[in-house]
């Protein structure tokens, strides 16, 4: 007997939650408990009175699983709303990364050149290293980090995705 795998889609969800103790464990734990995937999860408090946080979750799964994920999130008591940005239409996804490379000579020049092409900013430099700051859609960051690997990547830190719908209205 073999275990079958299903085709998956990537969806980005924006979840508004009460900013209370344990909320992250509740959300993340629901994903593990029910066997859903988390590609990335970011959270920060967004309301003036610090009562509400916005969680952005990039997840993947077959369509019926995505539908379940949304319903399961929605039934958690501290969850106010769940929006499927992928389903809702055009939206902007951004992620920030800090990328450290070290090297001398040709590699160093190449790193600088690539950073320029990808609009990464230098936020720290020594004679043998750079730290670049880059923002963009996740795949752009992915590509940039891949290139840096070839010219002396030391370490990388990524924020995970935040996303918001285009146009004047809230999602």
């Amino acid at each position: 007997m073999h275990i079958k795998e299903e085709k998956v889609e990537r969806h980005v969800l924006a979840v508004l939650v009460d900013n209370e103790a344990g909320i992250l464990a509740r959300i993340a734990g629901m994903f593990t408990a029910r066997g859903y995937n988390i590609e990335s999860l970011t959270v920060a408090d967004i309301s003036a009175d610090h009562a509400i946080s916005r969680i952005t979750i990039a997840t993947n799964g077959p369509p019926h699983v995505i539908e379940q994920i949304i319903a399961q999130l929605d039934r958690l008591v501290p969850v106010h709303s769940v929006r499927d940005l992928t389903e809702a239409g055009p939206h902007v996804q951004r992620e920030l990364a800090l990328v450290k490379v070290s090297g001398k000579g040709e590699n160093r020049i190449e790193a600088m050149r690539l950073a320029d092409v990808y609009r990464a900013r230098v936020v720290d430099a020594t004679t043998e290293s750079f730290v670049f700051e880059i923002t963009g859609a996740p795949d752009k960051i992915q590509t940039f980090v891949g290139l840096m690997r070839e010219v002396g990547l030391v370490e990388v830190g990524r924020t995970g995705v935040v996303a918001i719908g285009r146009g004047p209205d809230a999602a």
Binding site: M1, A21, R26, E67, A71, Q72, L76, V77
Partner: protein, 587 residues
Amino acid sequence: MIMELKVAEKSGAEILVQTLLDLGVDTVFGYPGGAVLPIYDALYDHPKIKHILVRHEQAATHAAEGYARSTGKPGVVLVTSGPGATNAVTGITDALMDSIPMVVITGQVATNLIGSDAFQEADTVGITRHCTKHNYLVKQPSDLAGVLTEAFHIATQGRPGPVVVDIPKNVQVAEAEFRSHNGKINPRYQPQIDGDFKAINEAAEMIMQAKAPILYTGGGIINSGPKASETLCQLAELLGAPVTSTLMGLGAFSASSEQWLGMLGMHGTFEANMAMNRADLVVCLGARFDDRITGRIDAFSPNSKKIHVDIDRSSVNKTIRVDLPVIGDVGRVMEQLLAVLKGRKFNAPDYEEWWARIKGWRATNCLAYPESKTEIMPQEAIRKLWEATHERDPIITTEVGQHQMWAAQHFDFEKPNKWLTSGGLGTMGYGLPAAIGAQLGDPDALVIDIAGEASIQMNIQELGTASQYRLPVKIFILNNEYMGMVRQWQELTYESRYSNSYSDSLPDFIKLAESYGWTGILIEDPSDLEAGIKKMIETDGPVLVDCRVAKLANCFPMIPSGAAHTDMLLTPEDVKGTMDDNAKALV
């Protein structure tokens, strides 16, 4: 403007007890320990709250479930930190799976000790996060009344479930101003009660077009309250359609009705499963297309349109895709549906062809069982139990196994809230504590736990609880000397290799019962069955019956897991060969 009056301060423990009283709690199932001593001390001064001292915290949770399921009120549990809380986890999970309203108060080590691996510390909120509907750690006594009020609201509203409130010991001792929170409702959890009007109309439309409709009902109807069962009867009457139910929904619809097909699913009747398979419209009312019901997903009711009424949106399209979801309280939605159908002057056709086919399936007489003069057939025992007791509207609880399925098949339920069983989690050890809880909820009721000799041993210590509170609970053990359901699966799936399913070294149940002050009755011979049952009913106080039944009887009909409704096994002769790995991998 409301005047802000200065209010007296109370300790967290007193606030807790006062809030419980304000919320109408009169019964608490619990077990003391270091981390709840302040609460137990506060209870000492409040005789209005009846505290039932169980013998194991798991039993407190099942007793609370039994109380809740039979009365419709939330069950309340009080246990200490660490082992008290972990012992309660099984019952909490059971309540989550079966949507039972329950509030569990757990003691916790003082806030300054949390995280230090203190004596009897356990991360109760972490451990119970996924087996509760919601849970809390209360860090200030001033939050207690608000949290408890919300906890009861969440436990009882929408799809009911267990809520844990973890209270550190210093929060029980510290003081805060106390105002009664009575009557305040919680704006952040307001489930939808009324069905969407457009959806109801569409449902009515689908019903009016159906030629072979079936009503598939579940525990949601019981949860919605007795009125929902009445509405179901009216709806069924108007439609003239057959009705079947899940294990959890038994009793919502009268088993003596002509329209009743019996239970659905793995051990359901042939006619219910065939009708489900051949229907052109399935109206699912407060049920959730559980795998015990559907069998093989792609073969489940393949040609029907499906309407799903549920208060929990996440139940919709979880396993079976439906054509029309209606989110709302099932009782309320049925009322709305009735109103629309009547408004449209719906006159049900007599579905002549449909009923003729059902009649054909009924003729298989699928619940028939082999007779014996020498052995007591377990099915016969259940039937005789029903005959002797049904006029008294007994409350039946069960453990888990063959006896549970035989009870579901052969005991006819007429009313809601009389059938208490662990459906979703299938917890052996549920029945005795649940019977204790039910008896407390209705002291005059005849409460019988239909048990297996293996299951009953899982919470046998509760014999003492029933004695202490003078609860005349009856236990009827179908003693087959096997974990019969396990043995049956081993027989069917593993060529009768009975690995560890024999109930060896059984106690003398009669002596055991007597040592707790119970009456014990042994029934061994078929000719003693009726007299034994009569004696059980007529004996005051708690009675345990050890009824020795046929050891190798199997529970049929049965849909092997992963098979289609149409592949039902009706008799042992239908079983051939071993199952393949795919079937073995399914539970």
